[in-house]
């Protein structure tokens, strides 16, 4: 996978290594790492857009304020459409999730940066948070009626135990697929970019092959980068909309 050139041998997965910012000692929970740095920058970017961008509160918004308003309006509408009016109570949580994932994805696309959402540890925390929160909410709101989610009333009686097992499995797979979908997408995209980058150095190794391969791979990087810009927003959208769907299941468990 790595290139054969002497000075250029790097691995496509090197970019996902968490390392300490200062020195290279062992990592404990308090060590500031590159993940810490880029998560902090993510928060700063969100604050810059949503707090400082809307500070003017102009009736006719400027560009930054209208972007912030569009973001707010989009998520607000999504929560309302998917979970209904009573789901709007949980809108701040969903908005936080969306902003964090979106900005982490976009900051991860900067050259030399570290994409925090490519770490399964980060996305798993988000997904498990949603999973536990939604399950607790379901039991608090509906009591034992929440178990009706697994007991499909519309199916024939003989089929219901089978469906209950399937529903139960699919319920517990939710946090797994929820987290791996985001981390896997981001990781795959960034790794593909690095693989193309490795082929881009072909011109240094052999000019004959390189004259064909290098322009093609640079074109490939541009294409994959464009795709990644799309994937960044789609994955943030998918993560939040699935959160909304799970929230709807918890609030109205009857199928």
């Amino acid at each position: 996978m790595a290139t054969e050139a002497e000075g250029l041998s790097f691995h496509p997965m090197d970019q996902f290594v968490v390392k300490p910012l200062f020195g290279d000692g062992p990592i404990s929970w308090y060590t500031p790492t590159n993940a810490t740095l880029w998560m902090g920058l993510t928060l700063l970017a969100i604050v810059a857009l949503l707090v400082f961008g809307t500070r003017g509160r102009a009736i006719i918004p400027n560009r930054v304020q209208s972007i912030a308003e569009m973001l707010y309006g989009m998520i607000h509408k999504m929560v309302e459409d998917v979970t209904g009016k009573d789901g709007l109570k949980y809108f701040p949580f969903v908005m936080t999730l969306f902003c964090f994932i979106l900005f982490a994805n976009y900051l991860g696309l900067l050259p030399k940066s570290f994409s925090t959402t490519s770490q399964i540890a980060v996305t798993a925390v988000l997904a498990v948070m949603v999973f536990v929160g939604v399950t607790v909410l379901g039991f608090v709101k509906n009591g034992t009626h929440f178990l009706g989610l697994f007991w499909v009333k519309s199916a024939p009686l003989a089929l219901r135990p089978v469906l209950a097992v399937i529903e139960l499995i699919s319920y517990f797979v939710r946090p797994v697929s929820h987290s791996i979908r985001l981390a896997g997408n981001i990781m795959a995209g960034h790794a593909v970019m690095k693989v193309f980058a490795a082929f881009g150095a072909m011109l240094l190794i052999s000019p004959v092959i390189g004259i064909v391969v290098t322009p093609l791979s640079i074109l490939g990087i541009v294409g994959v980068y464009a795709l990644e810009i799309m994937v960044a927003i789609i994955q943030a959208y998918v993560f939040t909309i699935l959160t909304c769907v799970y929230l709807k299941d918890a609030l109205h468990p009857s199928h």
Partner: protein
């Protein structure tokens, strides 16, 4: 020899992505054909489109993950 098995397995696991590609294409194509028949109902179904795509795609990501695990974690 052991490494050969890892690489073969990782390559085979990537066949699973073809299934995900077919699935996602199916979802998008059916959405488009439905949307062209009834454009007024299309806008309200984009959320469903993305959810369907996400579910179909997750399984492809799982096979990618298996490939990665074989390469780096075994």
């Amino acid at each position: 020899m052991e490494q050969l098995g890892q690489y073969l397995g990782a390559g085979l696991a990537c066949i699973g992505m073809a299934g995900a590609a077919i699935g996602v294409g199916n979802v998008a194509g059916n959405y488009l054909s439905g949307a062209l028949r009834n454009p007024s109902a299309a806008a309200s179904q984009t959320a469903t489109l993305f959810i369907g795509m996400a579910f179909a795609e997750a399984l492809g990501i799982f096979s990618f993950l298996v490939a990665l695990l074989l390469l780096f974690a075994v």
